[in-house]
């Protein structure tokens, strides 16, 4: 069966099994991954996958099941299991399928150029990434250079008449380089992504890994202080990803977000503007419709420092008396939809990184954080995370530092943003995020 037939058959079988409503999400795709080490292929894979997930609704209860057997018998069994699973749930007056469906036309989610690339050429590209990192003087090793791509089809159908699908491709590469030796060994990562390998620049990816490692060689633990902090785009993206997860209406309604009750409030410096955009053709998480068939869209979350809205799926929208923002997200056919961000986009400001350093005067430039997810209290927003980077002295980048923590709380951090950089880039950190570097007025830095 093709995917459209699979989803239609699954919906039909769930209704036959006694479901009042049903929805089926099916995927199939192929992916490749190439890992090189020391000028040789370390591993190479070529893999196919397929599966279907069914949501069945019975008396206001919903159950979910998935399976990888896409024969008629296999699909029917998944549909029945979903219907049976629903028995164990409590009824939810806000649950159920969306009342309205639709798709947003987005060009360029799939690139035909991907299929023009032979495996040999992809291996060459991966080797070029490694070479670009290794060739920089001071780089002692390239731990990993990895290329990966995927092409897949998705189909969604439900018992209210929605049926649609789309194709998408992705290609990405990253490298992790070492500089220095022994206890002074430092690591750096470089990354690039796009719809096909033509979008990947091996010199830039390998070079970035090398430069990020080299910049930290000789790092020492700094003295504790309170000072301005510049977050580079990688680190800003990690924080923004975390903040985005706190703007989910699910987290808000369940009392797990520090932003609950803050809608309409000024929660950030007016320089800060943030949106969720499921329609940007360059955004890795873009798609014509979300995980339950609502059309994708752009949602402004923070503008002029003010929190405008949360992100909703159909269930949280009904509960909150709102409309969905098209943020029912699916990890894969293996899980039911739940509220999630698509692509978070932090609007660029003005100024180069050097200008942010100048504004900071004396402070800290953070290029890596560790333990963000364990170090932030999602409810109070207080955090203390491990970091490394460089000192900023007299408005310029100075000596490298490591083994320190930066601490604040998310609201204070957002309110004390002093400047947003101009150069944004896509980063696959904390979801899919497009972010520039940002300057925070003050944070607690703990070191020696």
């Amino acid at each position: 069966m093709n995917l459209d037939d699979v989803t239609r058959r699954a919906v039909e079988a769930a209704l036959e099994a006694g479901a009042a409503d049903a929805e089926a999400w099916a995927e199939e795709g192929v992916s490749r991954r190439i890992r090189v080490y020391d000028g040789e292929v370390e591993s190479l894979s070529d893999a196919g996958g397929r599966g279907v997930g069914v949501r069945a609704f019975v008396d206001g209860r919903s159950g979910y099941a998935f399976g990888t057997d896409l024969t008629d018998a296999g699909v029917v069994e998944v549909a029945r299991s979903a219907r049976d699973a629903a028995e164990a749930a409590d009824p939810d007056e806000h649950g159920g399928l969306p009342d309205e469906f639709g798709t947003t036309q987005i060009e360029g989610l799939a690139s035909s150029a991907l299929s023009d690339w032979s495996t040999e050429r992809k291996v060459e590209l991966t080797l070029a990434v490694e070479r670009a990192a290794r060739e920089r003087p001071g780089v002692t090793q390239v731990e990993n250079a990895v290329y990966s791509d995927a092409e897949g089809n998705v189909a969604l159908a439900n018992s209210r008449g929605f049926a649609a699908g789309y194709d998408a491709t992705q290609a990405w590469a990253y490298a992790s380089a070492f500089a220095g030796e022994g206890s002074d060994l430092m690591t750096g990562m470089g990354v690039g992504l796009g719809r096909d390998p033509d979008a990947l620049d091996p010199d830039a990816i390998g070079g970035e890994a090398a430069e990020r490692a080299l910049a930290l060689v000789g790092a020492r633990q700094p003295e504790s202080r309170r000072c301005p902090v510049v977050l580079d785009a990688f680190v800003a993206a990690s924080f923004i990803g975390f903040i985005g997860s706190m703007l989910s209406a699910e987290a808000v309604q369940r009392g797990r977000s520090l932003f609950a009750d803050r809608e309409g409030d000024e929660i950030a410096d007016p320089a800060l503007a943030l949106g969720d955009d499921g329609t940007d053709p360059d955004g890795p998480a873009s798609a014509p419709f979300d995980g339950e068939g609502s059309p994708s869209r752009r949602t402004r979350l923070i503008e002029g420092g003010r929190l405008l809205t949360f992100l909703f799926d159909v269930r949280t929208a009904r509960r909150g008396g709102r409309s969905t923002t098209g943020n029912a997200s699916r990890g894969s056919y293996r899980s039911p939809p739940s509220v999630g961000t698509t692509n978070l986009v932090l609007d660029p400001g003005e100024g180069t990184l050097e200008e942010l350093f100048e504004q900071a005067g004396d402070g800290l430039y953070v290029t890596d954080v560790a333990g963000l997810h364990s170090g932030v209290n999602p409810v109070s927003g207080t955090f203390s995370v491990g970091a490394s980077g460089r000192l900023i002295e007299g408005g310029e980048a100075a000596g490298p530092v490591r083994e320190l923590t930066i601490a604040s709380d998310l609201v204070s951090m957002l309110r004390t943003v002093r400047a947003v950089g101009a150069q944004t880039r896509w980063l696959p950190l904390g979801g899919s995020v497009k972010a520039p570097p940002i300057l925070i007025g003050e944070m607690a830095v703990s070191g020696a």
Binding site: G48, T68, E87, G255, G386, S388
Partner: protein
Amino acid sequence: MTLVDPALAARVLERSLSRGGDFAELYVEARHGFAISLDDGRVERPQGGRERGACLRVVVGESSYYGHVDGHAEEDLMRVAGSVVQAVRGEATEPAALRAPERGNGHPVRTRPETVDAARKADLLRACDEHARSLAAEVTQVRASYAESRREVEVFNSTGRAAADDRSRVRLAVQVVARRSDRVETGSDNRGGHAGWELVEDDPEAVAGKAARRALALLDAVDAPTGRLPVVVGNGFGGVLLHEAVGHGLEADAVQKRASVYAGRLDDRLAEPFVTAYDDGSRPGDWGSDGIDDEGTPTRRTTVIEDGRLVSYLYDGLRARKDGVESTGNGRRESFRHLPLPRMTNTFFAPDDATPEGLIGEIDRGLYAVSFGGGQVEPATGDFVFGVSEGYLIEGGKVTSPVRGATLVGNGLEALAGVDGIADDLEIGSGYCGKAGQSVPAGVGQPHVRIRQLTVGGTAA
């Protein structure tokens, strides 16, 4: 062998080596899972899944070529073998004839979780919700989740190995939110094992109670101190520090790439003579235990640190062949969609003869880190960071105020050398370990352990 007929496996292996290769392996898996959660007082998201798939790999020198497929049919397996060998260039080699199947260590499963009604699993969660809310009016939210999985695994390889395993795991996790005026805090706890329904059926309220008490304690918490302090790390899940700061650096892939501070340190004294640590995937019923690893090697106990000296790394087959040693049974993978890597199973410090009270009693000013929210380590440098989810000040040899927002920052080698006391109360907790995009169940544990000094990054700067 119930998933794939050995005669078919032999044909697939033969095809896999038809263009050369030093080693070929067929890994076959059938997975069944069920999960259900309770949030906001409501049982929701009951979900089940079934997957059948296979992973085929061919090793040529130091290169691995592999592919995976959803399905076990002859045409699925032959197609993936055909696609993998296309990347190999050489003369055909012959796999050895398959031997009789091996089964590794058994782990007792009294009641198969899939035979228990979903309604009883929902009731388990309701009992947790009720108990947590009964402890204090400040408990405002309870989130509980139950998950079970069964993985039937078969491994066939070109050395003639045929091995099988049947794994059942269950896990109950509870997270509690407590609120007092503007103060909102969370606490969590879990219980998991390679076991049946019996593990969670007995006193699930204990898990809810521990999560609630953690959240409630934090309501009275003071800001964490900052600076270098002696730290006593709690037993059980406190062992995540050993797991992250030492264990990952002992995994042979990192060692062989010299991406580990422990590379070249075999036989060196790294800790005080009373420090011994194991990785043990054979411990009956523990969360990180299996019968065989995901390459068919029986699980076993490996001493990694003996009387303070580093005595072994953790190996899968590929890295063991490179070092000319035997696999330690640590070749693990998330599923048939992944290549095996050297991974920890259950990793823990051996108990010594101190007591927790004794370790704490000798500290004038320090931190008692009972449990961590998680952590991260850079194996190449050994630098680590951990968020303390339940911690207390130690003042004048006594545990005093709870603290919030504490982070431990340090270096694995330094922390290991700084262990200056180990208690006698070993416990193993259950967690998920992520590496190279693969998540596997890992047991972490230890008795109470004292570290002379660590950098505590607090919020009270």
